[in-house]
Symmetry: D2
Subunit: 366 residues, 4 copies
């Protein structure tokens, strides 16, 4: 089978490198187009990243010879698309919000679907913010988005912030099982890779933690409500609950965000044992469709008393599973647990790829 | 002025070393007696700790030549006390609970007051669990304890667990200002020194956190209720509130426990600005008495957005101050903040020394 | 093909766990026998290691149900061997030297070959100390060892200390190319996993390094001479050179030993460019035999100026390759370079497995 | 006594902050003038550094209200000097070399002595590169420098790179005792603070080391030769020996550079015991003059087998002492040892202050 040619916008940055590394042996997609800032444009990808490659895992040899395009020059991408050499792009752009909004719009209006990791379009009300196991049906807004904008093939779909991924799937599994969640207090201990590269200065995390990450608490409190929302009149309407309080901290961990969560249920409250069963049994559309990046088990329940831990559990199912543990009653609310997910895989490039697989399976790349 | 001769039980362990280092230049107390397990007994302190001294700060030269006594042999301490060479002991014993209960009892009944860092007697109902700024009046139970046990000079007083000290003084300051606190959800990020030495294996905290500390959550949820309790019929009666949920985590930090706290007030709720003012203005008995180890300012309010941080703020006022920051509303409860205190100073040996100073000032060492 | 049944002595310890994890999908070997201290004997392996499994990678499901034997009870192993259920054992024993000497001897004399990770037999003069790429011919001493001891099937073969593996293969490649090496000064920066678990206390490596590792410098200076030695009169005679000075340090790294090396050649000195070519072109017997654990490329030459680095390069070729970089002249000697290898894979269990593959290919497991 | 008013060029950067913190209670000097880039000029120091103050230690309250001058505007400094409000400046400039050369020259020619931390003038042949204990006599070149340049009061004096300070004083003590040193091979494990702030990205040092620091090895090999050189014809002539090979590595340590050193002596070789005695007995001019920042003991000999260590020993004598340990024979050369010094105190701002004290004591600030 000929693979689907995909592009990466922001291909030389940290998230872009992750996309390219994770796609090295993808069964459906192959990287055919790389774009970055005008500074890198014109160089071969291998040369542009020599000495600046940040990951242990490397990329497909063919990518080394791709010439980097200027991400601002949409005409190049449009030409590639018209020749059948580019089916869609992953956006890993690192720019200011306004520029990203403009650029993602330009790609989409040029007929190139955009599967984005950037936060710029997360609150655009007809753009779905997808976690493939949680709200795959939000993809249904894509035809409405296209109709409203007058786009034929292009569209924009985004993924949420990495900080919420270690508990959103577990939360969803409980909601789906009929347990209303009214309120949550969440404290995250987040890996430095979440800030990119160079990102967090080492002086800030050797023998230290930083109890603040700019903008992260606001995103953590708001994004779940859109993800749990519903499509009404061509827009995604936010859910009313749960009400969330997020305390976000940076800790000396390379990869893997951990969250300590207290949950208050509605009138119907599951036992600890029921919670474990719900999570262990959880299957969703990506698992049913056997999407290539779908973790075999979306939620891994750890029964050992001191797990999950970032350096032991972040790589389960190639970094795509969410680990939960320390499932126990909360003296103040109802339930407490610890959630963990790999922030640059599940929470960024891997999550984006899974979203693209979902959209492919649903027929949105035509 | 002749200094008061004091003893250290468990003098070679990590907490014992901290006591000895912190007392090196104490204006009131001097270490005259060191006791440890029978294994170390008979050696000079300097020799026993050569190559095993864990701290950057060292001890008073005179301590090097003290011969270590067997901590189980109370008669040696009693003899020293009878000659005026030992006024009281700090207990930094590291044994099982039963043995510590017996031993601290033996010292006290031999006429030697015990100011203890150990957890064994924390729930003995006529033993005060003191934070000098919070419940100095609980020392009033000492005469009742002595009467009930038939002790004349001896008594036992303890300090609480290190994990709660980064928020208990701020909590107390709010209570004292008339704001009832109903519930709290607290997530701690605790330093490895809290587990002593060798303590936490390095493989557990390089590029990792451990979301579990044995027994710590239970202590964190219960001890505040005794500290906030009242003396009734010769016993300390637990307070009813606040109800606390604690999530305790080990992080790669040497010293300094950080807590992310959400607080639910009663009907009367202070504004963020009022909270800051209450904390900045807080003074307590140790400050009034100008006790040597009392921090000039018991609570340090940080207004920078990303503070307090362990490696920048733990040493304020020689490690005895509690730092607070990120004081802001909580979307779920009422107030959020981050607290920080130095766990081996404020939270252990330094806190014990401050308690002893308080008891001295109140006339309990006679 | 039926797999060869192998045993692990010391199966519950850190090195033992590594063996079991690495053998999970081995094409030739399968773990059929696990032995540990009498404390664990009688328990199923899965139960004995529940909550104590130290690795991200897990083991073959069938191992969970193996009942742990007492490693001191050689008769159990002998019985298994006589039934064809045990072909040889990997020794990952953690005991004192005398006990290991006795025990490895007992297994071998009971007809069970011992491929050992322990240091006890490294200086037994008829025991080969193998690095499969460097001195595979030292296996030739096995028949002589068997004859001298009166053993028929059993024998003992060991591997060297992990600290030297990041530079011994590069050193050998230069020697083999005809460049005599007279002297070397080596400074290692070693990962904490080299000390096992619990191993190095976290207080020793957070914001710290320890410039000492007990016994490591002596091993690093002596073992290369045996490895580079020759078989004479049924014994391995030490080589005369190179003379080595080793400075061994512990650094806050989980896995991956790094070495900074200065090399003094004899009269014939290669250029930097020649050194790079020799290393890039190096192939040895494991590569020729295509042994399952042989790295495709035994020595990886890094040309970027700041590599190799532990967290980016230790896992190349599944942790079995040695990385070299910063190849440049030495102002004092002739050549400088940085070597890196994964200490628990290449330097321990993985190296042991490669040795066993080599011995299998040479026909020593009969 | 009225204190001497001093200025800091580059006052808001990391080295500048260190100068200001260390001078907070200096008995001779007080900070009266702060200069930085034009971006900060015009702001009060306290405001400009709010939320950007990098150190646990804070500054003298009076500094908060100093208005930051533009470091490029020498006329402001000249005016202050003419009013007796500025006696000399510490240069902690972080610019490119050419700009620093010009600027330091401008200050000096404006009559303002420059005691510099920057590397720009280290190889200017009439500029002394001082370690106060090693080559205080190199200050004698100052009048020659002034004469050659036509400067009356102004001059430039610099300090060497931080990487060499953990072994240069010990090396000097041996040379001074009559033991010629022919060659040295040195491997450093350097703290991240040496790269300033933000400096080293955390992703590079969590679970990692970087075996490369740009320019550091060259400096480490060359600067000792100037320091050990002699004044001839108005210039400092490099010494011929020792020949040095430096391997410089970045490790996950906040403060404190550690060096593993192998030394080859000339014909006369001291015993290990003699080396220890020489170092323990070493006193130099700063100690004789009792300069405020002179460590009471310039070289601390550690006899414990695993010391010195950064987080235990860097702060001895307020970070101004050099620690040595593991003093033992070298199988390849003659002597091996481990040296440690605090890179931002002894190796940067503290060393600069000690140099200024020396120059003051010698009468160069007139």
């Amino acid at each position: 089978m000929k693979k689907i040619p995909v592009g990466i916008l922001g291909a030389t940055g940290m998230v872009g490198q992750n996309y390219i590394a994770l796609l090295a042996e993808h069964p459906w997609f192959e990287v055919s187009y790389v774009a970055a800032s005008s500074r890198s444009a014109g160089k071969k990808y291998g040369e542009a990243t020599a000495g600046r490659w940040l990951l242990p895992k490397t990329y497909h040899p063919s990518v080394a010879n791709l010439v980097i395009e200027d991400a601002n020059d949409v005409t190049r991408a449009a030409a590639a698309a018209s020749h059948g050499d580019l089916a869609f792009v992953f956006s890993a752009l690192e720019m200011n919000k306004e520029d990203i909004l403009t650029l993602e719009d330009n790609y989409a209006s040029a007929g190139i679907p955009v599967v984005s990791n950037a936060s710029a379009n997360r609150w655009t009300d007809d753009v779905p913010m997808l976690i493939a196991e949680v709200n795959p049906d939000h993809a249904d807004i894509i035809p409405l988005q296209q109709a409203a904008r007058g786009w034929k093939k292009g569209f924009i779909a985004v993924k949420p912030n990495c900080s919420i991924q270690s508990y959103m799937t577990p939360v969803w599994a409980l909601l789906q099982s009929g347990y209303e969640i009214k309120r949550m207090i969440v404290t995250t201990m987040q890996a430095v890779s979440g800030a990119g590269y160079p990102g967090v200065p080492s002086l800030d995390v050797i023998d230290n933690i930083v109890p603040y990450i700019g903008g992260e608490e606001e995103k953590s409190e708001m994004e779940p409500l859109k993800i749990l929302g519903s499509i009404e009149n061509g827009k995604i309407k936010k859910a009313d609950a749960p009400l969330i309080s997020a305390h976000c901290n940076r800790v000396p961990v390379t990869n893997g965000h951990t969250a300590a969560v207290s949950v208050e249920f509605g009138a119907k409250k599951p036992s600890t044992e029921q919670v474990k069963q719900i999570w262990a049994a959880f299957r969703a559309l990506p698992q049913e469709l056997k999407l290539p990046f779908a973790p075999e088990q979306a939620i891994i329940v750890h029964n050992e008393g001191n797990r999950p831990q970032p350096n032991k559990d972040r790589d389960i199912h190639k970094g795509m599973a969410v680990s939960v543990g320390r499932i126990r009653p909360c003296p103040v609310f109802d339930l407490r647990f610890v959630g963990l997910s790999h922030n640059t895989i599940r929470g960024a490039a891997g999550g984006g790829i899974l979203n693209a697989e979902l959209l492919k399976a649903k027929g949105y790349f035509t």
